[in-house]
Symmetry: C2
Subunit: 439 residues, 2 copies
Amino acid sequence: MPAPLRIALAGLGTVGGGVIRLIETNAALITRRAGRPIVISAVSARDRTKDRGVDISRYAWEDDMTAMAARDDIDAVVELVGGADGPALTLARNAISHGKSLVTANKAMIAHHGLELAELSEKARVALKFEAAVAGGIPVIKGLREGAAANAIERLYGILNGTCNFILSTMEDTGRDFADVLAEAQAKGFAEADPSFDVEGTDAAHKLAILSAIAFGTRIDFASVDTAGIGRISAADIAQADTLGYVIRLIGMAEVDSEGGVNRLFQRVQPHLVPFDHPLAHVDGATNAVVAEGNFSGRLLFQGAGAGDGPTASAVVADLIDIARGDLGGEAGAPFSIQVAEMEDMPPAESGHRRGRAYIRFTVADRPGVLAEITAAMRDAGVSIESLIQRGRAEEGGDVMVAMVTHEGPEAAVSEALRLLDGSPSLSDAPLVMQILGD
Amino acid sequence: MPAPLRIALAGLGTVGGGVIRLIETNAALITRRAGRPIVISAVSARDRTKDRGVDISRYAWEDDMTAMAARDDIDAVVELVGGADGPALTLARNAISHGKSLVTANKAMIAHHGLELAELSEKARVALKFEAAVAGGIPVIKGLREGAAANAIERLYGILNGTCNFILSTMEDTGRDFADVLAEAQAKGFAEADPSFDVEGTDAAHKLAILSAIAFGTRIDFASVDTAGIGRISAADIAQADTLGYVIRLIGMAEVDSEGGVNRLFQRVQPHLVPFDHPLAHVDGATNAVVAEGNFSGRLLFQGAGAGDGPTASAVVADLIDIARGDLGGEAGAPFSIQVAEMEDMPPAESGHRRGRAYIRFTVADRPGVLAEITAAMRDAGVSIESLIQRGRAEEGGDVMVAMVTHEGPEAAVSEALRLLDGSPSLSDAPLVMQILGD
């Protein structure tokens, strides 16, 4: 049998503990599948003494992560430290420059520095793998990079944040409001103490930017992802969507926009109304799902647990098995499917000329003329209204909700209508616009 | 740029035409992703002159497929001839023995001869790839072999035949009967003139046997797949299932049964009742979907088009891109994830001690005492009935339908109850048993 693949593990939090448990539990199986054992040779974390539920005493300990990357007895480094920059990035650069393959679950680092690391890995002819950085245990990086490799991807979209999906589907099931469900999710450990990274869409945007680069062969452009979170969605919105035949999901979506003969990259994370008969309407709880529409494959759907120590460890170790097998993704790597030098630097797309149907919710003062004002703005901006529902007010003089669904039309028209209404004393709150996911 | 990967294409039917169109349409993209061009160097089929909608005059023609496998200007052979034996198998053996990688969409050949071909390919150190043989364009072979490689797979199941799924979901949508919908499917080209291979479950069984081998590391055992088709499902069954909260789907399922300390391989293709809230309940039309439950990943779902020239070509060319990239799946191949010599020869499991809930439908004469006879048999066999519905007869003296759902219990008890009723003059037709898909 060939020599073992010797790995160093940096970061021993939840996922790090999961990786150790997986490698120990499934050791015999991994050896059969990889063709050789995968052994942990060294570990490093901030605190050596913390109880992690796994015995780390059998592994060499390094106080200095950077030193770990230089060890002669290491073939691959697993970075589970987290953070876009700082120690994680230093470790990643060092590992690759010392000729070690790098496996990471760090979506922020890949979204911000993935191209630099990929170029380093291509030069060093080592693997850079990050299956665990997107959608937890779902092999969607591999699915896009290899499984769908023969296709021009026409559209890519999905549910990329488990915390948001848990909150939205719980709101849907219980009729409770956002703040209430968020508090429960925090109590149960499904949401962070500071949930902004998840609920404002940043985490989903990191993942979308990584997937876009692989799907479309474009340079990662996290900064241009048009991002909105779920914090303004109310129980009333969810009830209204249900009446209309939709659920609400936070959708990350990317495609190449060729309007006007110039290719531009459209990337958006935004709550969408998803029709009941769409597969994503049935993705509940902390589950993630990604759809890739290929020009030959048609619609491919990958679904599974988007987070958690077990699923994330599954993805990390799958990457290690690829490396142990010698499947580094081609002669010179190409972690993003094509080599960095070949990736297109595509300008971001404007969303204005996109066509679609939208849900628009207004919170308005309950007095005569408000509906006339809103519908006049829609008419003047050329927005055609498919349905409109005004919900009865809860109490005398309170605000009322006006929700509408538009016919298909340019997004710019909806923006123009909202501009016309901007500053109107009739509106008690900024309108909430959500696109309706189309076929 | 490295030299092109030169392929020979044998079989120019629907899928062969799709592969040519894909390679021509996406040529630039494939070159960027594979790191080198993939070029068709030679083609072969039964009839050179047939109009295929693609221009084959630019490719060298071989009348003799076997000769094609020996050409010096070929790196990989794509076998799209079909059939478990005969020319396809001869070509496959020849290609590998001449040191060519082999890509095939031929599920029957892999289900029957996959181990022999894998051994040959492991010795020859060439790739043997068959993504297109299971679930069309869905990268489920790769998903299991690589994406889920870190996991012990606890259960594998899915919708593996698009024709059956089209028929069942159309029956569901329209209330029409099996024969009627089958005739429509045949007219539309969704079902073969002789549909038995699909509707009797054989095609799904081929695919299940291949997936089982990869998931569980067991030698392919197609002969032991317990297979039932969809021909006996009536519109009334579908209506009844709907009332109870289920849809009916033909499910292939496999798992390792460790009852009594001996590992046995359970493989079954059978119509199941699938609860509305299960992801597979929303898989409609000719779509396929595969669920793999890993001990760390949890439930992974892969879904997409299960057939058709575009999706199948997508899978074939993905395999070719892997080969062009040099990702042959490890030093010595291992097309089934582990090498053939390491695969377990696991005896088939008995289904009798499996526990579950079942739907049982009787067609009975409409006379006093029949229900008492059926329920007595259930009681005597220890089957606990959760719900029972007798549907009113259509006409005086006609047959009536009695449908029941059992509480969870051993499958052997249901078999025993049916044995007690066997030959009873009260039963106008053999009872139909379908398992209920559990969590």
